[in-house]
Symmetry: C2
Subunit: 195 residues, 2 copies
């Protein structure tokens, strides 16, 4: 597991966004410019969000919450591990609706909630928690691998603990491919670490 206190060798491999509101699938971008609500124009942009089916167990439909699902981040190695477990050639960040693809992170999905990801521009993201797998990316995988049965359900199992994290913006700024990423612990505990 990644240690939230230590120096890291995380690196941004790619940045992506979903500017087409009809699909959660993202497309590669030259850079992201984050505001307090997330990525302007992206389907998850907003300071608040209204609850949907995924939140049914916690909240009545139509409840307004602070938006903590602004940014989706996946790790290259975890995507490779999912692909390997499913016996498919690849699992692309696009198919997971990822906004940031991180390289060099084993155990990325296990980063403790509240951890901060600090980018060279000064942008800071807060880790909200594991992005729990649902069947939708598995359906996209099925389209990419015709003739393979049962991928949606298998995806949910194979990607548990590897599907990346949800994050929200603490401080706006740019995220660029090639950026190094520092992992800092939560809030005040970060004071002596962030220097």
């Amino acid at each position: 597991m990644l240690h939230p206190m230590g120096d890291s060798d995380l690196r941004v491999e790619a940045v992506l966004a979903a500017f087409d509101s009809t699909s959660f699938v993202t497309a590669r971008q030259p850079a992201l410019q984050l505001e307090m609500g997330g990525i302007p124009g992206d389907r998850h942009f907003g300071l608040t969000r209204v609850t949907g089916g995924r939140d049914r167990a916690q909240y009545p439909p139509g409840t307004t919450l602070r938006n903590d699902r602004q940014i989706t981040i996946v790790s290259t190695r975890e995507c490779e591990a999912i692909a390997s477990a499913l016996g498919v050639p690849e699992v692309l960040p696009e198919w997971l609706g990822a906004n940031v693809q991180i390289d060099g992170a084993v155990g990325f999905t296990s980063l403790p909630p509240g951890s901060r990801l600090v980018f060279p521009s000064g942008a800071v993201l807060r880790v909200e928690g594991e992005n729990e797998p649902c069947v939708k990316p598995g359906r996209v995988l099925s389209q990419a691998n015709p003739g393979t049965d049962g991928l949606p359900a298998a995806f949910v199992i194979a990607s548990k603990g590897r599907r990346g994290i949800i994050a929200s913006v603490v401080r706006g700024g740019a995220i660029n491919p090639g950026d190094s990423v520092r992992v800092a612990p939560s809030l005040q505990r970060a004071a002596s670490e962030l220097g």
Copy 2:
């Protein structure tokens, strides 16, 4: 330490706010009505905040951040433990700038960042992390205990790990004295727990 998955017997003992902008000291209120920015009229209200001295190690002064210091919560038992360690009769939540005083919580300050506090009204707070002690409440303690030397510095040491937490609003609603409080784990992991 409190277990973030379990049923809890936490109870709201008192609610407080700082409507006088000249001091961080809070005053008891009949109830709080939380909005997405916190407590309207309170000195910490806002969706964003501008960094000050406490943030110097992390951010340049005047940086705009998402406001994760909206609500301060302390535990009755931890306040008693601080008073006992300092040899003073009492440490009031008011002097710590608390907005919510919780009864029945041993190890409250150690609640993991990202945990949710769920109130009967439907209001939900997110635990941001431990509120790191500074000398200001110790100065108020000195005024309440004339003739006692060194309380500001002693307070910082005695209240480490007991000074309560900072929280932010996930969902607005009322918080009333006597409310029971449910502790739920972070984000998606909460789905099966919150029912």
